[in-house]
Amino acid sequence: MELPFFYLFSVGIIGASILMVTRANVIHAALLLVLTFFFLSGVYVLAGAEFLAVVQILLYAGGIMVLYLFSIMLMSVDVAVRLRQFHRQTIFAMATAVLLALEIWMVLSRGTSYPAFKSFGWGIGATPGNVEALGSVLYTQFLFPFEVASVLLLAAMIGAIVLAKRTIDR
């Protein structure tokens, strides 16, 4: 039952991503990126990570992408479409792509025996909805990284406000 859905979502992710990078119109590209996030959250649901799936939609699609669109909307897309679409960086881009593919292959070929994956003990889909499990792990075992991340975000937020305020006052 899950396999056809997995293929559906995967084809969706790949198709929408390819369409996204080939669009000349930035707004279309941004909307296709939202579509990609949707399919991705579908894959998360299939993996039993309901919480992650919802966060994916709530934060990436509902939050960050709206901000993206918000700023893109204010530029003149007609002019942007007529600008040069390719920047003659083919060789550099290809090298990066090959490197990235190698890295992904290295990680995936070793499967769960890869050292970085070992500490994450709880199996995929162990409990159908894992909000409670996630919460207790996050606030006990991973409390320190969690707090570090929060402080980092707080610092970024204050920094953004300071930068924005300085230009207003001037």
């Binding site: 939050g63 709206v66 909307m73 909000v131």
Partner: protein, 321 residues
């Protein structure tokens, strides 16, 4: 397996049908109530006391010419109304209408409602941008900023009751209110939730994205016919959905007052009617906020309030429960 799928499909069709019909009649109710508040009669011509008015309106919108502006981005222009309507209806998949009457229960139910309803803003932004008109673009910009900020207060206001219920599953939240409704434990959270709900559904006094006196009709200025009807339906579907969430989280969902034996669905509908009446009442009573006032009360008043509410709830729970 197949029987399950058929049963689920039937439930979805039933809920969708009922919701669409109720939403159509909400427009009638709104015109009627506002009419009486302003010492008018409201719609009277079609049917007894205008009861068939929504159907006549629907037919009219259905038969109207569908205009797409020549300078519009056609694909986005067509998708936008769908992007508004679909999230508005998808939300109903996890809402509890009665003890045994719901489409499905998800462990992250309430969270899913927030996530899906936050997607409606895409339709508004897409509509505003694709129309290629300054009124639409201004309306969409306001809509995006307003919904993005008030979504935060809406979500944060729900955290207090969630801490008391200890679950994100909407049925469990309703069950947790067997003794006392959470509105008595969390009055602050409810006030913030209600204000944020008004802003999220673009209702007066926060209807800035479609402020008709300054922006013609805001983000849906260029829309006509069925596409316009989609925006209209989505607005009322959103009102009903957000009211249902409020009822489930603050007013004990389908649970009634002990001693009065009525089915859960009836209790739910009574509460829904009361909350929607307040929505309409506010529309007939209050003037529109200015944009900077909207942002100020949001970030400088409501935001600290919800944070304080979460902190206090946590403190009380730690010390006394």
């Amino acid at each position: 397996m197949i029987a399950e799928i058929i049963a689920a499909t039937l439930k979805i069709v039933l809920v969708l049908g009922v919701v669409s019909l109720v939403v159509a009649y909400l427009t009638y109710l709104e015109r009627k109530i506002i009419g009486h508040i302003q010492m008018r009669l409201g719609p009277m011509r079609v049917g007894w006391h205008g009861l068939l008015q929504p159907i006549a309106d629907g037919l009219k919108l259905f038969l109207k010419e569908d205009i797409i502006p020549s300078r519009a981005d056609k694909i986005v222009f067509v998708i936008a109304p769908i992007m508004v309507l679909v999230p508005a209806f998808v939300v109903y998949s996890v809402l509890p209408f009665g003890p045994n009457f719901y489409i499905t229960q998800v462990n992250v139910g309430l969270f899913l409602v927030l996530a899906v309803s936050s997607l409606g803003v895409f339709g508004i932004v897409m509509a505003g941008w694709a129309s290629n008109s300054k009124y639409s673009l201004l309306g969409a910009l306001r809509g995006a900023a307003q919904m993005l900020s008030y979504e935060i207060f809406l979500g944060f206001a729900l955290i207090g009751p969630l801490m008391l219920a200890g679950s994100l599953n909407l049925q469990n939240i309703v069950q947790a209110q067997s003794d006392v409704w959470f509105v008595f434990y969390q009055p602050l959270a409810f006030i913030v939730f209600f204000i944020a709900a008004l802003a999220e559904t673009n209702r007066v006094p926060f209807d800035l994205p479609e402020a008709e006196t300054e922006l013609v009709a805001g983000f849906h200025t260029e829309y006509s016919g069925m596409k316009f009807a989609f925006f209209f339906l989505a607005e009322y579907a959103n009102i009903m959905a957000v009211s249902t969430v409020g009822i489930a989280v603050f007013f004990g969902g389908w649970k009634g007052i002990p001693g009065i034996p009525l089915p859960g669905l009836v209790w739910y509908l009574l509460k829904l009617g009361a909350i929607i009446f307040v929505f309409i009442w506010i529309r007939a009573t209050l003037p529109r906020y200015r944009y900077d006032q909207l942002m100020r009360i949001g970030w400088k008043f409501m935001f600290p309030l919800v944070i304080a509410n979460i902190f206090l709830t946590g403190l009380v729970k730690l010390l006394f429960l």
